[in-house]
């Protein structure tokens, strides 16, 4: 006999509302059905009705955690269709902000992962250190989370010289702490017993379902947009793409923590080589009919914007493919043969960002109707 255990739309393991219906036999997961759409805000459509400049701020609000990479990719796409070259200093400032974002996003994820396996002390430690990164982000860009720095044609705010030593100081401490976490995560017996061999995604599967980002790299796919399709200042900087082979949750932890260390290195190089000069050029308000695709490596993986212009000051179409959207199918493969105890950590392992994924549609009529569906489901659970 199989039992259907609903996880979500409201569940402590999920930080955002999504619905998973696990078919379980005893403790083993037999199948999973995924439904999205609980936080649709209709951003893609809304972008068609707003100007290019206005859309920078809209794209920033697609995702709170990775807002810089969203504005950055959007701006890259618009700059490409308008044929603008942005100043060198702007490229480096963007790189620094992008990497600071990656560091705090990965630490956030690591904390959540520790929480999912019931290791709350480690969770608190990760978040304590993430706080320092948010502090320097606030100093550099004015906002702990939303930086509002990128704009079409460059950046709006310059990095002040006096912030750099403080930033490097914090990063030095952070590097030491991260190396310690790496050591703990690869040696603590309780962590190993919860993460090793859990939620395995093979390289074959990762390629097949088009996995992106750390999820794919943990499975051994050697692909990083920063290195292979460089944008911002990544082409000028040296860094290593962190790869693991096993594809389990442990590999994901190691890849993400390894990337934190690489990101620290990138910020150091970028701060060191920061060129002087202007930080933005003026973009045109109307853009001739054209199309462009911009990609970047968000903390969660490849982020893609496809922008089509039509000669007015508003885009004809903006298509956003967020990393979690690309990784949804990996869950189906990972959950095969998992136990109920492993559901939360495997769910969390791809670092899902649901609000990102659910950006597409129009939320208008009958906002409350989706609740009716879930109540109906609840009634069904009761009968069981």
């Amino acid at each position: 006999m199989t039992v259907i255990v609903p996880v979500g739309p409201q569940h402590p393991a999920l930080k955002e509302p999504e619905n998973f219906r696990f078919e379980i036999r005893g403790e083993e997961v037999v199948d999973v059905d995924i439904r999205m759409g609980y936080v649709h805000r209709g951003i893609e459509r809304a972008m068609q009705d707003r100007t290019y400049l206005h859309n920078v701020y809209l794209s920033e609000r697609i995702c709170g955690i990775c807002n810089v990479v969203h504005t950055n990719t959007y701006c890259q796409a618009v700059e490409a269709i308008a044929g603008i070259e942005i100043p060198d200093r702007a490229r480096y400032i963007r790189t620094i902000l992008l990497e600071l974002e990656r560091i705090h996003s990965h630490l956030l994820w690591a904390g959540v992962a520790a929480h999912e396996i019931g290791f709350d002390t480690l969770f608190m430690y990760f978040w304590r250190d993430r706080e320092h990164v948010l502090d320097i982000r606030e100093a550099v860009s004015g906002g702990r989370q939303l930086s509002a720095t990128n704009t079409v044609g460059g950046v709006r705010r310059d990095i002040k010289l006096e912030h750099i030593p403080r930033m490097l100081d914090v990063l030095k401490r952070l590097e030491r702490e991260t190396r310690r976490y790496l050591e703990i995560c690869s040696s603590d017996p309780t962590i190993l017993s919860r993460c090793e061999g859990v939620g395995v995604l093979t390289k074959q599967d990762a390629l097949e379902v088009c996995a992106v980002g750390p999820t794919a790299r943990a499975a051994g796919v050697d692909w990083d947009v920063r290195r292979d399709d460089p944008y911002a200042a990544y082409g000028d900087l040296d860094f290593r793409v962190v790869i693991e082979r096993t594809g389990d949750v442990l590999a994901q932890i190691l890849v993400r923590l390894g990337e934190v260390i690489q990101s620290i290195e990138i910020v150091r190089q970028a701060a060191d080589r920061l060129p002087s000069g202007p930080i933005r050029v003026d973009p045109p308000t109307r853009i001739e009919p054209n199309e462009a695709v911009a990609r970047s490596e968000a903390p969660r993986g490849e982020l893609l914007y496809y922008v089509v212009s039509n000669g007015t000051d508003k885009p004809e179409r903006v298509r956003v493919r967020t990393p979690t959207y690309g990784n949804v199918l990996t869950w189906k493969r990972m959950f095969k043969g998992c136990t109920v105890a492993e559901i939360p950590i495997v769910l969390a392992s791809i670092d899902p960002c649901m609000a990102c994924t659910d950006r597409v549609t129009l939320v208008d009529v009958e906002r409350g109707r989706s609740r009716v569906v879930s109540l109906e489901e609840l009634r069904r659970w009761k009968k069981w």
Partner: protein, 141 residues
Amino acid sequence: MKASEVIQLLEGLIEEVKTVGNRRVFATASKERFREVLQRLREKEVRHVSTISGVDRGSHISVVYHFDCRPCLLNLRVDLPKDNPEIRTITDLFPGAEIYERDLMEMLGVKVSEHPDPRRFFLPDDWPEGVYPLRKEVKQP
């Protein structure tokens, strides 16, 4: 594959080829030749579909397949008539495209034939039939 290699590979199958830098190729293919393009890409170990975008162009619907040829990104456009936008699924060759095609179906009303799981993905179950939010004729509330 680099941009030039992609263009060489698909010689004769694609039209309106445009290269931007050496990592972006924009091209169109007809609905009939489109399967052959997929097969050729698949033979060359291209396995990553970055996404599928649908654009309502007023008179027709463009479906843009973004294939990641590592490092080149091939953006292959297929134009479909608006009165009968129908295209065959690519999930048999690229299983990762499953959700993008479900998205395409519910948002733009493109009929993807032979799709393994044509249910809705984002829209609620009680969303009215025949209303496709990203079509031009649907006005924002």
